[in-house]
């Protein structure tokens, strides 16, 4: 029922958008109109024909809408009632306010102030003043952006959370984006000889080199955001989770669907480095247990022991 309703909603919304647009631009080639709304020409015609032959009250059909479909073109004339733009739904209002504010939170994104002015007008009409979007502002963000703009290579000192090591790397930045609350840069890494994703707040130092970025860059466009990109050194570890921490399954790179075994939930997790797994296990505490492999089962105890050593060494007198 819900699915059906949503499909109908999507169609209604799309149909109203198409009609409003057609009424504004006048007679339009079918291909052009179809392309604008991401439809096959046949599908567009079918939608319009359906709209033309149903849903109209019997007493005022002519004033409300007239749809003309020829072999090659479509056009629509709407009564005054439909031609005026409709109020935004809560979701649309939210989307506009959130998008505008998110971009505004990117340093240097609104140098001429047009976005702020647009948002102020939106807020006056629709509300939204009380929405705040903050993106983190790591200290190396500026230098990474400059390198991306000039197309130069970067020399970075990078702390890898999965291996718990700092390494020096020369990279060609390809794409910078914020996701998951953090800034990331996708880059060709000469040390790895491949593309890698770096969290900008884990770059401890960065220097723009004179060399121009020249590595492969085909992945720069169209790459979809995913917080976790499996590297080459992935292994699978099976965890048994207490139901109280079942939520963690949503935020870890599970490689198989969770299985219920007794009163626990078992899941196979893709692990990129021991340090990452240690963090996860320390966080979950006794609510999680490593099922296997055996060498992973001792990680938690080892990690806890290592940190405990630090506390014992520094015992305040």
């Amino acid at each position: 029922m819900t699915t059906v309703a949503r499909d109908v909603g999507t169609r209604l919304r799309r149909l109203l958008a198409i009609l409003t647009w057609l009424a504004q631009v006048g007679e339009t080639p079918i291909e052009v109109a179809a392309a604008r709304f991401g439809l096959e020409p046949d599908a567009l015609v079918a939608e319009l024909e359906m709209a033309a032959c149903c849903g109209l009250p019997p007493y005022t059909p002519d004033q409300l809408m007239e749809i003309v479909v020829t072999d090659t073109t479509v056009s629509a004339h709407l009564g005054e009632m439909l031609a005026r733009p409709r109020r935004l739904s809560a979701r649309e209002g939210f989307a506009l306010a959130a998008s505008g504010r998110a971009l505004l939170a990117v340093p240097g994104s609104d140098e001429n102030g047009a976005l702020s002015r647009a948002l102020a007008k939106l807020d006056r009409a629709l509300g939204g003043e009380s929405m705040v979007i903050e993106l983190d502002d790591p200290s190396m963000l500026g230098v990474v952006r400059r390198a991306l703009e000039t197309g130069n290579q970067l020399q970075i000192e990078y702390y890898s959370a999965s291996s718990d090591e700092v390494s020096s790397r020369r990279i060609d930045p390809l794409r910078l984006f914020a996701g998951d609350g953090h800034w990331y840069v996708d880059a060709h890494c000469y040390k790895a000889g491949d593309e890698r994703r770096f969290r900008v707040d884990r770059i401890q130092a960065a220097e723009i080199l004179d060399d121009v970025a020249s590595g492969p860059r085909e992945a720069a466009e169209g790459a979809e955001y995913e917080p976790f990109v499996p590297g080459p050194d992935i292994r699978t570890v099976r965890l048994a989770l207490d139901p109280s921490v079942a939520w963690v399954v949503e935020s870890i790179p599970a490689v198989t669907p969770p299985e219920q075994t007794g009163d626990r939930i078992e899941v196979d997790v893709a692990v990129g480095g021991d340090a990452w797994l240690k963090r996860l296990l320390l966080r979950l505490g006794t609510a999680a247990r490593v099922v296997g492999p055996p060498e992973a089962a001792s990680l938690l105890g080892d990690a806890a022991g290592q940190i405990l050593d630090r506390y014992r060494r520094s015992q305040p007198g």
């Binding site: 309703a5 909603g9 209604l12 919304r13 647009w21 604008r36 109209l56 005022t60 439909l82 733009p85 409709r86 109020r87 935004l88 739904s89 809560a90 979701r91 209002g93 939210f94 989307a95 506009l96 959130a98 505008g100 971009l103 990117v106 047009a114 976005l115 647009a118 007008k121 009409a125 629709l126 509300g127 009380s130 929405m131 979007i133 993106l135 983190d136 790591p138 200290s139 952006r145 702390y159 914020a178 996701g179 609350g181 707040d201 884990r202 401890q204 963090r279 320390l282 247990r289 490593v290 055996p294 089962a297 001792s298 938690l300 105890g301 806890a304 405990l308 630090r310 506390y311 305040p316």
Partner: protein, 311 residues
């Protein structure tokens, strides 16, 4: 149905509506069912459907108030419109609502929604995955109360604002039952919020959303505030300072390490956060906070030995 309801100055009963729409089911139950579906559809689409009492046996009538249905003219100049287009193109919300909104604003033809290659993109959590979000936005916008289930308990709040930080959306609100300002993580709201009538929310005089807001998990507790000092090694210092803000730093050591001071009401959450630093972080004091970390670690050392390789 929308056209019928927009066209009527008088509220129409369900029977009148069905009579004016060709093809509407004629059976009483089927008609009611179809109407409930359409009503929900219209409301989901943001169409303000008014329900008004009318005389006669039908009792309730429905209409759409045109002044609430149409978008007021925002008066955006081309530069401002272009900036909004760019924002919608560059910010991913996981659904097409932003593009739909732009087409309602009249962003036609010529300015395709193509992101600029050198503009950083921002991914916000998918709206699909956070169904509570648009309802809460509506509640804030209308100054309406919101009721929802949070961590297994019902809450009734007067919303003050929505806030995004560190990858999560939060609702800042006055919690009526607890009679104080609270922060709710939107992804932990487990029911669709029901939004009260416009204007029903009443924030206490002088309510400050800024001071009621906290995204830090160790501040979600109900206990007294304890100031905890944490030493962070150089490898994690930069990230931690960026996360907490420079105001949290009480000492910068020549090694690059920093000491940060945190206001803690939930010691368990603090311990979890500190352990995420592995051995790059250490609680310096007060003693009870140190003891809480050591206590957890000792449990885990034992647990690790107990489960190792068991088969």
């Amino acid at each position: 149905m929308l056209l019928v309801l927009l066209d009527t100055p008088q509220p129409l009963s369900l029977r009148e509506i069905a009579n004016r729409i060709p093809g509407y089911p004629s059976g009483r139950d089927a008609r009611r069912q179809a109407f409930e579906r359409d009503k929900r559809l219209l409301r989901d689409e943001g169409v303000p459907l008014l329900v008004e009492p009318i005389g006669g046996e039908d009792q309730l009538g429905y209409r759409v108030d045109p002044s609430h249905y149409y978008l007021p003219d925002l008066g955006l100049d081309p530069e401002e419109q272009a900036a909004l287009n760019l924002a919608v193109a560059g910010v991913h919300l996981g659904d097409p609502s932003g593009v739909d909104a732009l087409s309602k604003l009249g962003a036609t033809g010529e300015s395709p929604l193509r992101p600029l290659v050198d503009t950083p993109l921002v991914d916000l959590p998918s709206v699909e995955a956070l169904p509570a979000l648009s309802g809460l936005f509506e509640a804030v916008r209308l100054s309406a109360t919101a009721t929802f289930e949070y961590r297994g308990a019902p809450r009734q709040v007067d919303p003050a604002g929505l806030r995004f930080r560190g990858g999560h959306w939060y609702l800042v609100a006055f919690d009526r039952d607890r009679a104080e300002g609270r922060t709710f993580r939107v992804d932990r709201i487990t029911s669709t919020p029901s939004v009260g009538p416009a204007g029903s929310a009443q924030l206490p005089a002088g309510f400050d959303p800024e001071s009621a807001f906290s995204a830090e998990p160790w501040r979600f507790g109900a206990g007294d505030v304890i100031a905890v000092d944490v030493l962070v090694d150089p490898v994690e210092a930069g990230r931690v300072v960026a996360e907490l803000g420079a105001g949290a730093v009480t000492e910068r050591r020549s090694s690059g390490a920093v000491v940060v001071r945190l206001s803690v009401t939930d010691m368990g959450a603090l311990v979890t956060w500190v352990l995420g630093l592995l051995d790059h972080g250490e609680v310096l004091g007060p003693p009870e906070a140190r003891a809480a970390v050591i206590d957890r670690l000792e449990t885990l050392v034992g647990a690790g030995e107990g489960s190792g390789g068991a088969s």
